[in-house]
């Protein structure tokens, strides 16, 4: 796996630079993940199927010594990103003649930007300093430690071609920003982390996808509001329990909302459990997002934020392959996931609650893992909202791997 890559890299460096590096001395590692999909909307208003390399992500890490290391993740979504110019002929009508015909006096072309669907982003870039065997800190562009999928999002780690709806429109995965997070294991089995990060932007919070558009992603993030993040994880023999929280202001220093650090405040509390026993995998996540300043955010930004958002899912999968082939190293997992999120669970007095923001999704399908890091996926997704209109059924096929 990665060590092989490291060895190969060391060999290449040796060839390129004479005897500067002996095999094994270089601590630079390469890794990554990729996922491709075919999505066919079999029912609902969206008629067109699509095929896409949804994500291609490269990890580069470097260990300076046993304590100090650098980690990065560079992502390309939807294959290509380019800004091209489209030429449109524009005619300016100067006057209208007596018989009603327009008289063209000027004609020319205007160039407008046309962007492809792609997106390039640095998702993580941080230095990690381990101060002892059980504690340390990391700083740079970091993942917010809330929810399972935000920190662990390789395609072979979840079922279904797409990540859970909860990890998209509730916990806005991949949620990241600049910050510093300390971590430690005070007792065996307990992992704690907590820190300070740049906040969300309240100017885009609202609607069906909740916090999602409020992410600043570390690209010249407005850092007027520093948020507090924390996560506790406890490992039991057959399960891991997690509880994460994010608390911060979203005003960006806008005095109409308040220029205090926590003005336009948002509180996210989300718990998760992952259990597995003899090929049975059960996963559940649930959380609540409180926006006590939603009324002020609406008065200024008019994006229809809820005052309280709720969401959660339960997923069960079972590896049936050992029943058929006891010696197999592969896995074949039928799974089903039930999800519910409502970003307008409660709304402030100046926002009209939209029942379309209360969504239910059921995903049922099959994950075939010929290797623990490679997944072939097929699923049927049934997405509905409380209005009874705009529901969609999707048939999806996908492949993903990480290394």
């Amino acid at each position: 796996m990665r060590s092989l890559l490291r060895s190969r890299l060391a060999t290449i460096l040796l060839t390129a630079s004479g005897a500067a590096f002996a095999e094994g001395e270089s601590k630079t590692t390469l890794g990554g993940y990729a996922e491709a999909e075919y999505v066919n909307p079999v029912a609902g208003p969206f008629a067109k199927s699509h095929a896409d390399v949804h994500r291609l992500v490269l990890f580069v890490a470097h260990g300076f010594d046993d304590k100090l290391s650098f980690h990065s993740e560079l992502e390309v979504e939807h294959v290509l990103t380019e800004l091209s110019k489209k030429s449109t002929t524009v005619t300016t009508i100067d006057k209208v003649s007596a018989n009603g015909d327009s008289v063209k006096t000027k004609s020319g072309s205007v160039l407008t930007d046309v962007s492809s669907p792609g997106y390039v982003a640095v998702e993580q870039a941080f230095v990690d300093y381990r101060l002892g065997t059980t504690a340390g800190f990391r700083t740079g562009l970091l993942l917010v430690p809330v929810g399972i999928v935000n920190e662990t999002h390789e395609p072979n780690t979840y079922h279904g071609v797409h990540r859970p709806l909860y990890a998209n429109s509730f916990i806005p995965t991949t949620w990241r920003d600049l910050g510093i997070i300390a971590y430690g294991n005070p007792v065996e089995g307990l992992h704690l982390k907590g820190g300070v990060m740049a906040g969300l932007s309240g100017s885009k919070i609202g609607g069906a996808s909740g916090l999602r558009s409020g992410r600043q992603k570390g690209g010249k993030s407005n850092a007027e509001n520093l948020s507090l993040v924390a996560r506790a994880e406890y490992t039991l023999p057959f399960a891991k329990l997690g509880l994460g929280s994010w608390f911060g202001g979203t005003s960006g220093g806008d005095t109409a909302i308040g220029d205090g650090n926590f003005d336009g405040s948002v509180l996210v509390v989300a718990g998760d459990v992952r259990a597995e026993y003899q090929g049975l995998f059960v996963r559940a996540e649930g959380g609540v997002i409180e926006l006590p300043d939603a009324e002020k955010l609406q008065a200024v930004h008019k994006k229809n934020p809820g005052e309280r958002m709720v969401g959660g899912y339960v997923e069960v999968a079972y590896d049936v392959l050992p029943l058929l082939l006891p010696e197999t190293e592969q896995a074949l997992l039928p799974f089903v996931r039930y999800e519910k999120i409502d970003t307008h669970f409660e709304v402030p007095s100046n926002v009209v609650g939209n029942p379309a923001n209360s969504q239910t999704q059921i995903v049922a399908g099959l994950t075939w893992k010929p290797h623990s890091q490679v997944s072939f996926k097929a699923d049927y997704t049934w997405l509905r909202n409380e209005t009874g209109i705009g529901g969609v059924d999707l048939l999806k096929l996908g492949v993903g791997c990480s290394f």
Partner: protein, 151 residues
Amino acid sequence: MADVALDARISEKAKLALRRIFGAASRATPTLLEAKFGKRPSWTVRGESGAIVGAAMVDEVPGKSERITILVASGPDGRLKDLEVLAYRESYGGEVAQEAWRAQFRGKKPGDPLRVGRQIRNISGATISTNSVSAGVSRSLPVLAGLLGIP
């Protein structure tokens, strides 16, 4: 294939682990094993009476981006006596060092299936580490059996 060498710190940890596993009165004689996956520091261990009570070797397996250094110790019958994580260099996923997880390997003999998710429990969020350490134990047990002269 990459060879494994011990620095002073890991060497010290390995000696402490050998004493913990085989008892304070045991004496470990270092030797260098040439496994087909590379050279590995190893020991044959004798008890107070001078009889061989086991053998141990250090292996390195890949974690998510850093190596994990483990010590695999077998009893005189070639079955795993204990496993110790000598160095875990990543911030997260260190649960492979937990006693409850390591305990599952005790008594396993060369060739026993050690599939994560079946014979060996996975640790959610530490899938790469659990698979790597299991693979490290799997490949080390036959090598130690060879060192102990067990066919």
